[in-house]
Each structure stands twice: as structure tokens, then as C-alpha cells.
């Protein structure tokens, strides 16, 4: 699944941690003011003294690489401001996801890192998470509406606090494009023409990898949203539309046009292989999440730019993208509910996100008040893209049932690639039959 979490490491970031900590402590007070936790605010709620608050919240984290010190910086700020200790348990990313069912039913930590959208709603509907509407009373004005929607369960309550996200777009190396005189395509026809030109120049036009199983989901998502629109996409993902339909066939037929321009040996390549193809100027373009720069040398990462996926159906233009949101949830019956709510509320504030992004760059802050001055030019452009896009999808494996995504869609998309899209009617029939069996409709 999209365990391809951002892996960027900022090697020169840790040295200044102390001074940064001091600086941020002042920022944190501001954040807590916004959250109603200042001394006077607490006093008004019945003289909650520091001594009463001096307890512990447990936090389960699947952060990797630079994400670990980044989250630690946040929890340190939180403890400094509230006196509540945070005990963080860091799990390996992949296994944490795979064991989430039994984990949440066992003795989970109070707060845990998770994904927005359907994947959050699934566990919320199963009663394995605590609603946090009161936290959102404070966060609502600070978060884009799309983020609030992605944090809301099927019952209308909020269960999730967004921390960061990244867009899916077509990435390329500026220097290569400048040298060859390529320009970003706006329409499908221009996109195909560009790919053809790159092929003539001896490049692999589009890096495309699928050993991991999940990367082609991004292609399906974006082509579907471009052809059939966001609402259709969401209904399809929720199991409410038939896969054996002219609309879905149109998506696969359009997608098939790109096969001649894809990397050779797609099904044996990992996304890191694709990133390497782009980095080595062997491939011209690569559709992936913004985390791909984390797999490159910093100097090369600075040379990366992107364009949003081209228009296919003018009716929808470029009004939707995948931009998966990561964040925090509270488990079903936390030992310290009050503390857990304070913690997730704090983690969603701008100062917390600023502190986080300073160490784990390569992501975008969810909070509107995030300090964007520190963003790289690429991040600024990514943030602009997300802000300008009307509909934000969460990625197929977060927008649909996990069992459908992993046991049906991964093998189906792999067979679509291995037989080069030669049997689309049979493919969509098979997907639809399995979908009915899983969704029970």
C-alpha cells in the first residue's frame, strides 16, 4: 500500500535542534492560546493546575527516518507547554499498517498515527476510534474544508487531525527539460505528443513501476477523475458504481495508450527504481507522490519540478488530484482521554506543524497557518497546487475498503499491465464480481 511514506531525511537538520527548541517553545504558547489552553483559559475551566495535568499520554507512531525526530520535537513542545508527558512508541511502518486491526482491538496507545479518508472512516465506523468534534471546534477555522471533510467519519463526527500531506503529480527534472526544450503539457494530446518526442530523443518517456503493487493506483485515480470526475470516482471507490461500465472501460482504454511510453519491466521495478530513472535523466517524467524527492540526492532533488496531470475531459479540467493526508487519531478507550485530545489538537496547530516540517521537510503542512516561508520552491508550488484544486482524493488504497484495494485491485492492475490492457472487458468484469463479493452489494 502506500507505505512509500515520505522518506526524505534532512541530514543537516539535527545540529540546530536546541536553539530551534527554544524558539519553538515561544511559538507553542501561541498555539496553545489558539487551542484555549493558556493559564487563564485553564483557570476558567476550573483551575486545572499544572500538577493535575502532569500525567502521561501514549502515542503510537509509524514515522520513519526524519519523521521520528520531527514528531519527537512536537511532543517535546507539547510537554513543555502542558506538563503532560508523551510516551511515544515507534513502530515499523509496514507492519504497523498490517497489524492495525488487531492492534486497535488489543491495548492500543491513546493516540496513533493514521491516514485520512475511507481508511479512517472504516475504523471509526467499527467503533475503534474516539470522536473528537470538540477538538475540531478550535481547528475548523485553521484547516481547509477539504481536510475537515477527509477527517470526518460516515456518522458526521470528526475522528482525525491532519498533520501533513503531499500531492500526486507528474514530476520531471528541470535541467533535462531545459536542455531538450520540453514544455509541460496541458492536455492529453500534448502529453502523448511529448512522450513520443521523448521516445525519439532516446529517453524512457514515463517512468512507471509496479513491483510494489500500489503505484498504478495513482494512475487509475487520476485518469478516472480526469475522465469521469471526482464525484464518480468517490462513488466508484465506495463500491456504489459498477466497475463493469463504459466509464471504467474508458479509463482503462485511455490508460492503455500510454503503454508504449512506459518503463520496460514495469512489474519488476520498485518506485525507488522509478525515482532513480528520473534522477539519472533516463526517464523524462514520473507520476508519483511528492515524497519521491526524498529518494534522490539533495542537489538533484532541487532540480525537480512537476505539472498537474493533463486535462482529458474539459468538463472537469484539472479540478481533482490525489493528495493523501496523514495525521492522528484517538483509539477507542484511551487511558487519558483529556490528554489525548489535547495532544491531537496540539499536533494539528501551525506551530506544531512548523516544528515538524523543519525536521521532516518534503511534506506540506495541513494547517492554513503553517509557515510557508520555509518551504522550498517545489513545496511552495505543491502547496499552491493543492490549494487551487477543488477536490482532493486520498489515493485508492485510502479511499476504498482495504480488503478490496489489496486483494482485488493490486492483482487486477498488475494483470492489466502484464497483458498490456489487451482484455479490458474481462478485467472489469472480474473486478466487478469480486467487488460485489467484498462490498456485499
Amino acid at each position: 500500500m502506500s507505505e512509500a511514506g515520505p522518506t526524505s531525511a534532512e541530514p543537516h537538520g539535527t545540529g540546530r535542534a536546541m536553539t530551534r527548541g527554544k524558539l519553538l517553545a515561544t511559538g507553542a504558547t501561541g498555539a496553545l492560546a489558539a487551542y484555549g489552553l493558556t493559564a487563564s483559559g485553564a483557570a476558567a475551566r476550573g483551575m486545572l493546575s499544572r500538577a493535575v495535568l502532569a500525567d502521561t499520554v501514549t502515542l503510537a507512531s509509524y514515522e520513519e527516518n526524519a519523521g521520528i525526530p520531527a514528531l519527537a520535537a512536537d511532543t517535546k513542545l507539547f510537554t513543555k507547554a502542558t506538563g503532560i508527558d508523551v510516551k511515544t512508541h515507534t513502530f515499523a511502518h509496514g507492519p504497523f499498517q498490517e497489524q492495525i486491526n488487531s492492534y486497535l482491538q488489543g491495548h492500543p496507545d491513546d493516540v496513533f498515527t493514521w491516514f485520512a479518508g475511507y481508511r479512517m472512516q472504516f475504523f471509526a465506523a467499527k467503533g475503534l476510534a474516539t470522536p473528537i468534534d470538540d477538538v475540531w471546534k478550535i481547528l475548523t477555522p485553521q484547516m481547509p474544508p477539504a481536510f475537515k471533510a477527509a477527517s470526518t467519519g460516515l456518522d458526521g463526527h470528526q475522528y482525525f487531525v491532519p498533520n501533513k500531506n503531499y500531492p500526486w503529480a507528474v514530476y520531471y527534472r528541470k535541467s533535462l527539460w531545459k536542455e531538450k526544450g520540453y514544455t509541460a503539457p496541458r492536455t492529453w494530446a500534448q502529453f502523448v505528443a511529448l512522450a513520443k518526442k521523448m521516445q525519439n530523443d532516446g529517453l524512457t518517456p514515463i517512468a512507471f513501476t509496479d513491483k510494489d503493487g500500489w503505484p498504478p493506483m495513482g494512475w487509475f485515480d487520476i485518469i478516472n477523475m480526469r475522465i469521469n470526475g471526482y464525484d464518480y470516482h468517490v462513488r466508484l471507490m465506495a463500491g456504489k458504481q459498477s466497475w463493469d461500465s463504459p466509464q471504467v472501460k474508458a479509463v482503462f482504454n485511455k490508460w492503455r495508450e500510454l503503454f508504449p511510453y512506459y518503463s520496460e519491466g514495469t512489474l519488476g521495478l520498485t518506485w525507488q527504481d522509478g525515482a532513480a530513472q528520473l534522477e539519472n535523466k533516463q526517464a523524462g517524467m514520473f507520476l508519483l507522490g511528492g515524497f519521491l524527492t526524498g529518494a534522490m540526492k539533495p542537489a538533484n532533488a532541487k532540480d525537480v519540478d512537476f505539472f498537474p496531470f493533463p486535462v482529458v475531459n474539459p468538463r472537469w479540467g484539472q479540478d481533482s488530484i490525489d493528495a493523501p493526508i496523514d495525521g492522528y487519531m484517538i483509539s477507542k478507550s484511551p487511558k487519558n482521554l483529556a490528554g489525548a485530545k489535547k495532544l491531537v489538537g496540539f499536533l494539528g496547530t501551525a506551530p506544531a506543524i512548523d516544528a515538524y516540517l523543519k525536521i521532516n521537510s518534503g511534506n506540506l503542512g495541513s494547517n492554513r497557518r503553517t509557515n510557508t516561508a520555509k518551504y522550498s520552491p517545489l513545496q511552495k508550488k505543491e502547496a499552491k497546487l493543492i490549494a487551487a484544486t477543488k477536490h482532493i482524493a486520498q489515493y485508492m488504497d485510502r479511499d476504498t475498503r482495504p480488503d478490496f484495494a489489496s486483494t482485488v485491485m493490486i492483482p487486477s492492475l498488475q494483470s492489466f499491465i502484464s497483458d498490456q490492457g489487451s482484455n479490458i472487458p474481462k478485467l472489469v468484469q472480474s473486478i466487478e464480481k469480486q467487488k460485489k463479493a467484498i462490498f456485499g452489494t
Binding site: 500500500m1 499498517q97 498490517e98 497489524q99 492495525i100 486491526n101 488487531s102 482491538q105 481508511r119 467499527k126 467503533g127 475503534l128 532516446g202 529517453l203 524512457t204 509496479d210 513491483k211 503493487g213 518503463s263 520496460e264 519491466g265 514495469t266 512489474l267 519488476g268 521495478l269 527504481d273 532513480a276 530513472q277 539519472n280 533516463q282 526517464a283 482495504p402 480488503d403 489489496s406 486483494t407 493490486i410 492483482p411 487486477s412 498488475q414 494483470s415 502484464s418 472480474s430 464480481k433 469480486q434 463479493a437 467484498i438
Partner: protein
């Protein structure tokens, strides 16, 4: 004659009774523990999971919430697995291929190596260590080695015989028509070394006079092997058959490391894991596949057990 038997049975019974009486409390406790603990362990670790899996295979359950959330669905899972679940039949076939490859390539190769090493050629210990390495290496590491050799972008084969820098690759892992063969080579490599060490032990234990006698009678090396050595090693041969079948049915780690057992590398064991473990949690569905695997496993097990019991009177 009949009376004789009856008398001897009576005597036997009396002897047995006498012996039973002589058991001290300590003996009895020891016996209870020695029988009871294995029975409890077998019950808890083998029979309980097996029977629950069979029960769950007729249900639909996502593993969340209490047992009351389990829905009874009859044979739906089995029907769906056989009809609309595309990876199932490939997985079934691949397990059979796996068995065939181990039985006809891996095992004979291991026996051949053992036979050669047994000849006391120079440096046989060195060869023995080399051949035995794959068993010592964890399967997960074999998966990683496969990556280094077979990966289209960075692998040795692709780099030597194609041009990955310019996008031309030899794809031994992603091409579903080839990946299984590449993996079977690895599996046979590992299996052969396993077989070799067991068979070598058997050959070493073989009475050398048998071979000398054959040589004196003028039998050729091949003839000696097939007419004398092979039959004399029957117990080891049975062990090898059992090991080969077990290894083929429980094959899992190499394909799981390579690509989680998808896209041409499906195996029943991987489908079980993929459905039950992870966010998917189709407990009933995965259990049904597990029951299919259990049924297949029962065939060699029954044959083996049948054979072992048949041999009791002979010995």
C-alpha cells in the same frame, strides 16, 4: 493352538496388570505430565486452530468485534474462490509446479551432490560447505540475493546482458511468465543443499561392505547405486519424499520477499496470508483457502502415515 494364544494373552494381561500396580505416584504424575502436556499443546496449537479455521471458512468475518459479528455464509467462500478469485488457480498451479521442481530437480540434484561428495574426492569438505550454505542462509536473505541478481534495474543479469541505463532490461522478477522459473531455480538451489546434507548422512552410515560385495560381483557404479545403495537407503528416501512435499506446500518466504507473492508468484500460502493478515482481514475467505491447502496436504500425509503403519509388523 487357540488355547495357547488364549493362555499367553491371559499371562500377558496379568503381567500388564501387575506392572500397572507397581507404578508409584511419582511415575503416575510423570506419565500424566508426559502425556498431558503434549496433548494439551497439540490441542491448543494444532487442533484448536485447525478446527476454528475450518469453521471460519464457512463465514464472513473481518476480525473486528466479538464473535457475534461473524456471519454464517455456508460455502460461499469456496464458491467464490473457485470461480471469481483470479489468483487462486494460478496459486494452485504454482504450488504443483513447485512440488514438481523440487521432486524432479531439487531432490535428485541434492542426492547427486551427496553421492559425489561421499566418494571422498579431494576438497570434499570445501564443496560440502559451499553446497550447504543455502540452508544456513535465511530464506529472507535468499529473497534479497534474488533481487541483486534478477532485478531489472540494478540486477546482475540485466546489467550484464542488457542496458538498464538506457531503459533496456531483462526482467526476471516482474514478467509473470518468467518470474516463477527464476524463483524455482532459487528454491531448488536451497532445497538441493538441504537434501544433500540429509542424504550424505545416510550414505556415510551405509555399510561399506555392501558396495564392496557389489564391486566384487562386477557391478558398475551406476548399477551398484540403483540396485544396492538406493534400496538400502529406503528410510532416508522416505524422509526425503516427505521433506520435498512439505517444502513445496509451505513455500512462502522467497516469493513474499520478492513481491509479496503477486503477479505470477502466487502461492496458496501467500493468498492465505494476504487475506487474513493485514488491513484486508477477510478471515473467512483466507480460512477457506487454508482449508484447501490443508486438504491438499492431507493426501501425502495420509499416504505417509498409511505406509508407516503398514511397516510395523515387518519390523
Amino acid at each position: 493352538m487357540a488355547g495357547d494364544i488364549a493362555t499367553s494373552a491371559r499371562v500377558d494381561g496379568a503381567r500388564r496388570r501387575k506392572r500397572a500396580v507397581r507404578l508409584s505416584t511419582g511415575d503416575r504424575i510423570a506419565m500424566t505430565v508426559m502425556v498431558g502436556v503434549p496433548v494439551l499443546l497439540t490441542g491448543a496449537l494444532i487442533w484448536f486452530p485447525t478446527i476454528s479455521s475450518i469453521g471460519l471458512s464457512f463465514t464472513n468475518w473481518d476480525g473486528i468485534g466479538g464473535l457475534h459479528t461473524i456471519q454464517w455464509t455456508g460455502t460461499t467462500n469456496y464458491r467464490q474462490i473457485a470461480t471469481i478469485y483470479p489468483p487462486f488457480w494460478p496459486a494452485f498451479r504454482h504450488n504443483l509446479f513447485w512440488l514438481g521442481a523440487l521432486a524432479f530437480v531439487g531432490t535428485p540434484l541434492g542426492m547427486f551432490l551427496a553421492y559425489q561428495l561421499d566418494k571422498q574426492i579431494r576438497g570434499s569438505r570445501f564443496y560440502q560447505s559451499i553446497f550447504y550454505i543455502p540452508v544456513v542462509i535465511a530464506p529472507a536473505i535468499i529473497g534479497l540475493i534474488s533481487e541483486l541478481i534478477l532485478s531489472p534495474q540494478q540486477g546482475l543479469i540485466s546489467s550484464l546482458f542488457a542496458d538498464p541505463r538506457h531503459g533496456h532490461v531483462i526482467d526476471w522478477l516482474g514478467d509473470p511468465s518468467r518470474s516463477l522459473w527464476a524463483v524455482l531455480v532459487l528454491a531448488c538451489w536451497r532445497h538441493a543443499s538441504y537434501v544433500m546434507i540429509i542424504y550424505l548422512a545416510g550414505l556415510k552410515a551405509l555399510d561399506p561392505t555392501l558396495r564392496e560385495a557389489a564391486a566384487i560381483d562386477g557391478a558398475s557404479g551406476t548399477r551398484t547405486y540403483f540396485r544396492v545403495v538406493l534400496p538400502a537407503l529406503k528410510p532416508i528416501n522416505i524422509v526425503l519424499v516427505v521433506i520435498t512435499v512439505i517444502e513445496a506446500l509451505r513455500a512462502f518466504d522467497i516469493v513474499y520477499i520478492i513481491n509479496r507473492g503477486r503477479n505470477g508468484l502466487e502461492l496458496l500460502s501467500v493468498l492465505i496470508t494476504g487475506n487474513i493478515i493485514g488491513e484486508a482481514s477477510r478471515i473467512g475467505y483466507g480460512s477457506a483457502i487454508a482449508v484447501v491447502l490443508l486438504t491438499i496436504s492431507l493426501v501425502p500425509i495420509v499416504i505417509f502415515v498409511w505406509n508407516s503403519f503398514q511397516e510395523v509388523p515387518e519390523s
